[in-house]
């Protein structure tokens, strides 16, 4: 069983049952289905960050770089008025993002601690301003996707990306695959070494492991998953702009991960839903929603030291 904790199994079971049913009951309310789809996509992004920050120990403030890159790469790679195959281009986007992560990783992973935070922030801001000021990539307006890609595999088509419910299930599938993939990685020998090196890099190196290589591979994995999330988000709304890459995006994802319980991975899903849920409620209740949002985050961080997942584990684990 890759989900070791009882709490984890209960939370994920409830989540997937509810998530699977949502479009069945809300078929007519495509706004709500779309909203939840966005939350699912964000959950993929936050899980990939939670893996890096909570498990590998790489506190990055530039993760949104890859989120934006996923969207941009897709638009740049595809011909403007031609429907391309989604799966093929998703692989292209992830492959190129992995290469970018390799180059960025080689640079940023030479630092650690506060310097790592600063350099990841600096690089993502650099790329942000590059797209912001670029004429050929649409500047601050970004780029639009004119043709929704086709999703057939070997000529069989069972997904229509224009149908909100179909897109919803594609996003839910991304959540499931990301979750399972990260869990399998963490349970492998690779994951144990990464975990050990987060705790004590020198000691892990003294066991004969090249920490740099392990961190670099983890960085590439996390970044590639973020790019996939960015690709989905761009497809859902039909555009990509520099806002995808802002440091606020990285920061918000970090808050979601902390809120959910850092390093728990399933907590990232909880954190994303809670954050987005609260945001939605406060935005509709009051014009001063920022005040309530900030206040409730401070409260939760103070009361739930180990996040929502930590709190639930305290209740449910014996």
């Amino acid at each position: 069983m890759i989900f070791e904790k009882r709490t984890e199994r209960i939370v994920l079971a409830i989540f997937f049952v509810i998530a699977l049913c949502i479009p069945l009951f809300l078929e007519d309310n495509s706004f709500f289905v779309g909203k939840v789809t966005t939350i699912l996509i964000l959950a993929v992004f936050v899980m990939s960050l939670d893996f890096l920050v909570g498990r590998v120990g790489l506190v990055t403030l530039g993760h949104a770089l890859f989120y934006g890159l996923g969207g941009y790469l897709f638009v740049i790679l595809t011909p403007e008025y031609e429907a391309v195959n989604f799966w093929v281009y998703a692989i292209y986007v992830m492959g190129i993002s992995a290469l970018v992560a390799l180059v960025v990783g080689v640079v940023v992973l030479r630092t650690s601690g506060i310097y790592f935070i600063m350099i990841t922030l600096a690089i993502s801001q650099m790329v942000y301003y590059f797209f912001f000021d670029s004429l050929e990539f649409g500047g601050s307006d970004g780029l639009f996707i004119f043709m929704k890609p086709d999703t057939s595999i070997f000529g069989l088509s069972f997904l229509d990306l224009d149908n909100p419910s179909h897109f919803y299930y594609l996003s839910l599938l991304a959540v499931l695959i990301t979750l399972v993939a990260i869990k399998i990685i963490l349970r492998s020998r690779f994951g144990r070494i990464v975990e050990a090196s987060r705790l004590n890099p020198e000691r892990t190196e003294a066991l004969g492991y090249n920490i740099f290589a392990f961190r670099l591979i983890s960085y590439i994995i996390g970044s590639t998953l973020a790019a996939y999330a960015g690709l989905l988000f761009a497809l859902q709304y039909g555009y990509v702009n520099p806002q995808f890459m802002t440091w606020e995006m990285s920061g918000t994802a970090l808050v979601m991960s902390i809120l959910g319980g850092m390093g728990t991975i399933y907590g990232a899903i909880l954190g994303t839903i809670t954050y987005e849920g609260l945001l939605y409620i406060f935005e509709h209740l009051s014009d001063d929603w920022m005040l309530f949002m900030g206040g409730s985050i401070i409260l939760m961080v103070l009361l739930l030291r180990k996040g929502l997942a930590g709190y639930l584990e305290k209740l449910l684990e014996k």
């Binding site: 020998r189 144990r192 070494i193 975990e195 050990a196 987060r198 705790l199 004590n200 020198e202 000691r203 190196e205 003294a206 066991l207 004969g208 492991y209 090249n210 920490i211």
Partner: protein
């Protein structure tokens, strides 16, 4: 082809401006076992850390099986089949006993793995009952067994133990000495830092005593007996 597994030549190591090791040199032959003794603060741990590259020496060379490994990063030195059991056991508090062994296990540089999970379990039956406990939930003796087990699954040719019996109850200490003897018999060379002359005399072929970062005595167990006064003076406070 030399018969030395490990050779330390004119090692000088400094912490900032304080000179810790002064032209330290010694040799360890293949299959042999060596003790490294000295009072606290004389540079024993620094010697080990210089050999492993954790603290880079200012000058001098470390040869392993004839190869100069002085310029290699720590992890590459360990890949030459060296295992290190650090002082204080060095548990990872976020990993269980089983995970400690899982993450460390690898075949030696020739692709052979004589020491695997099962063999470690057979050597330390007590760990068998604690597999899903976190490393830091174990008793001192159990932690030491796990630290040695974790070193064994890397299939080393040389095992370096720093203060392996420190802070353990006498009975447990004896257990650890017995295990180290078994390891030695299985053909793994050992370099042991400890203060217990009696146990080390039985266990090791060769003894090096360090005083103020310099070799004060270097000889076999018989020579140690002949110079017992000199050695004991160097070790007593």
């Amino acid at each position: 082809m030399s018969n030395n597994l490990l050779e330390v030549k004119n090692l000088n190591t400094l912490y900032g401006r304080s000179h810790i090791l002064h032209d330290l040199s010694f040799k360890l032959e293949k299959g042999q076992s060596m003790s490294l003794m000295g009072r606290n603060g004389m540079g024993k741990t620094t010697t080990l850390k210089s050999i492993l590259g954790i603290v880079p020496p200012r000058s001098g060379h470390v040869y392993f099986d004839g190869e100069d490994i002085s310029k290699l990063p720590t992890w590459k030195r360990m890949r030459r089949d060296i295992a290190y059991v650090p002082e204080g056991r060095g548990m990872f508090h976020n990993l269980t006993v089983k995970e400690h062994l899982q993450m460390a296990a690898r075949p030696d540089s020739n692709g052979k793995s004589g020491w695997d999970f099962e063999r470690v379990m057979a050597t330390f039956p007590r760990l068998q009952e604690r597999l899903s406990n976190l490393g830091t939930e174990l008793s001192g003796g159990e932690q030491q067994m796990l630290a040695i087990g974790r070193a064994l699954v890397t299939n080393p040719r040389l095992m370096i133990l720093d203060e392996a019996t420190e802070g353990l109850a006498p009975l447990i200490r004896q257990d650890i000495w017995n295990v180290i003897a078994t390891i030695r018999e299985s053909g793994i060379s050992t370099l042991i830092v400890d203060k217990n002359i009696k146990a080390l005399k039985k266990l090791c072929d060769r003894h090096v005593v360090i005083v103020k970062g310099q070799v004060h005595f270097d000889g076999s167990s018989e020579e140690l007996d002949q110079n017992l006064d000199k050695v004991e003076t160097a070790l007593s406070v």
